[in-house]
Symmetry: C2
Subunit: 343 residues, 2 copies
């Protein structure tokens, strides 16, 4: 999740008194920011307004609740053309990347999101060769795609160069994906990129987007899914970040309906545990185009024990074939709604 | 989860200034408490010290992070012989029960915990008749056990009467389990109760305990598991609350080792999503005694569509046979550790 998002940490009910606004935990290593041209402030507003010395994540996307992490040190804060970018060292979750007040990844649990959003689609088809990543500027999805030895070309279209630069500087184990020679990075708008992509190009498209309020909104709408469908080969697959079953069943219902209309292969919802995402889970919409049938629940292209991948990137921490299939088993309250909209 | 726990909300880094200590959100409906004999304070410390008007959950069990819920109104606060008991109306999670600063249940997500801790064991054996619940004073597990028409006797041993009374008053849809005529409530110590239970009595024991620091510690230790093993019939099953894979692998490793030594049938770990528990997940240890073999991953006793159960308690919201099997699929980092200790 690394495009633009509506922040709302400033919605916190009571501001912290002025006199408390400094302290060791708030020391900024890179006080002058990263070149995005925005004005720098000593403390990002989302840091100071809730628990002093802690980062609190609040949003109209999950009203009435907030997850907070203790901050050891702010390592970077900048304002790009698209969003506020913060990196901090947390007390217990390693380094944390925050865009517009929303946690994108922590070193402690990024494995779950990156491995699942990548291997759910790529392990569901034999021999993927051309893969497109929309968003995902941190490089974590690239790292996971690069584990697949069948892949020949990895295109990535990320709108915000600052996310790429910051990830390379502060999250080398995530951004390591950029070192793969098969990767072509394009800084630009994913919607426009897909509109212009040649028909039937990709075996798989992975949409590592932010939430559907603000500029990422288009990535959840019909015209975008139509472009994806067009850019995929027959029997090609798409996996897109699709929010939380606990928080956003209304959004999910709409996505499923849209996908059912557009993708004439299979349409499935999967989910997984990511502790630092709201409600502790994140979902994925997995669809295939008309053509050779794809049964997402039964992975045909194992990655678990690929030796050359382990050599380059270490062993997988989260994904395995069992958890792949399990990710499609939904709680009854969600199954009822999704089954009524999907196949 | 409803026994005693070590609170630590007072560990929050900075106290809120005195002058901010009132506001509509902090109004107490039941200002004189529930008869536990403790001294009443206007605001529980875990409420006021972090975000004004919000409840924040902090504990040495999950250092460096806190989940917070916006409080509409405090409905009850009391101090029993064992713990601080709070009920508040939250802005977006319904009513919330808090024991010693730790969220036990919210109306919005209690279904996941109660249904999974109950039906994972009871749907794994044919025809369960006698069931024992240790802890679980809120009555939610009783509600789920009562869905099983084969069950003839439901014993529950809860240490804290205040939890039972508060649940009956504020959570009627949870405490509804107490209305079942098969339920026998004993207020007392579960460890002592099990020591004195007749050998081979129960088909299933469900341990709905709090965390293993403080008085619930014994419920995670060998002598307790030995008592459970003794009280179960051959091929009987136990399901015990077993923390979070993301936060407590060390504790889980110990529990698995202990269970492996004691239970001569099968020993398995399952997990599920509960948004308001730390890291958004909770695990369960599922074991069977020597005797008829139990394969927990393949439920043999379906409950999904039991009509009389739906009549009394409404349809299941979370549990189904698919999610039962999926709960045993673990992420690689956990599978490695647990497989090395279990079967």
């Amino acid at each position: 999740m690394s495009s633009t998002q509506e922040a709302s940490a400033t919605d916190s009910p009571v501001k912290r008194p002025r006199e408390e606004e400094n302290g060791a935990a708030m020391e900024t290593e890179n006080g002058t920011g990263g070149g995005g041209g925005g004005e720098m402030i000593k403390e990002p507003s989302c840091m100071s307004s809730v628990i002093p010395g802690w980062f609190s994540e609040m949003s109209p996307m999950w009203p009435g609740e907030a997850h907070s992490l203790k901050v050891e040190k702010i390592l970077f804060q900048g304002k790009s053309d698209y969003q506020d970018v913060i990196v901090f060292q947390s007390a217990t979750y390693g380094k944390v990347l925050v865009l517009d007040g929303v946690i994108q990844l922590t070193e402690r649990d990024e494995c779950a999101y990156q491995e699942m959003i990548t291997h759910l689609p790529l392990c569901s088809i034999p021999n993927p060769k051309k893969v497109l990543v929309i968003g995902g500027g941190d490089g974590g999805v690239l790292r996971e795609v690069a584990r697949h030895s069948s892949v020949e070309q990895i295109d990535i279209c990320e709108i915000d160069k600052m996310v790429v630069d910051v990830s390379k500087q502060y999250f080398p184990k995530v951004a390591v994906g950029y070192k793969d020679p098969r990767v072509n990075l394009l800084i630009g708008d994913g919607v426009a990129f897909l509109k212009n992509a040649a028909e039937g190009t990709y075996d798989a498209v992975i949409v590592d987007s932010s939430d559907p309020i603000g500029p990422a909104k288009e990535l959840f709408e019909k015209p975008f899914f139509e472009s994806v469908n067009r850019a995929l080969r027959p029997g090609g697959v798409v996996c897109t970040q699709a929010e939380s079953l606990w928080l956003h069943m209304d959004i999910i219902e709409d996505i499923v309906s849209n996908c059912r209309e557009i993708f004439k292969g299979s349409v499935n919802y999967a989910w997984t545990s990511v502790p630092t995402y709201p409600s502790g889970v994140i979902g994925f919409m997995l669809c295939s185009t008309e053509g050779p049938q794809v049964d997402f629940k039964k992975p045909v292209n194992p990655i678990d024990a690929d030796e050359s991948s382990i050599k380059s990137f270490g062993p997988l921490k989260f994904y395995n074939a069992e958890i792949h299939s399990a990710a499609f088993c939904l709680p009854s309250f969600a199954k009822k709604v999704i089954d009524s909209k999907a196949n």
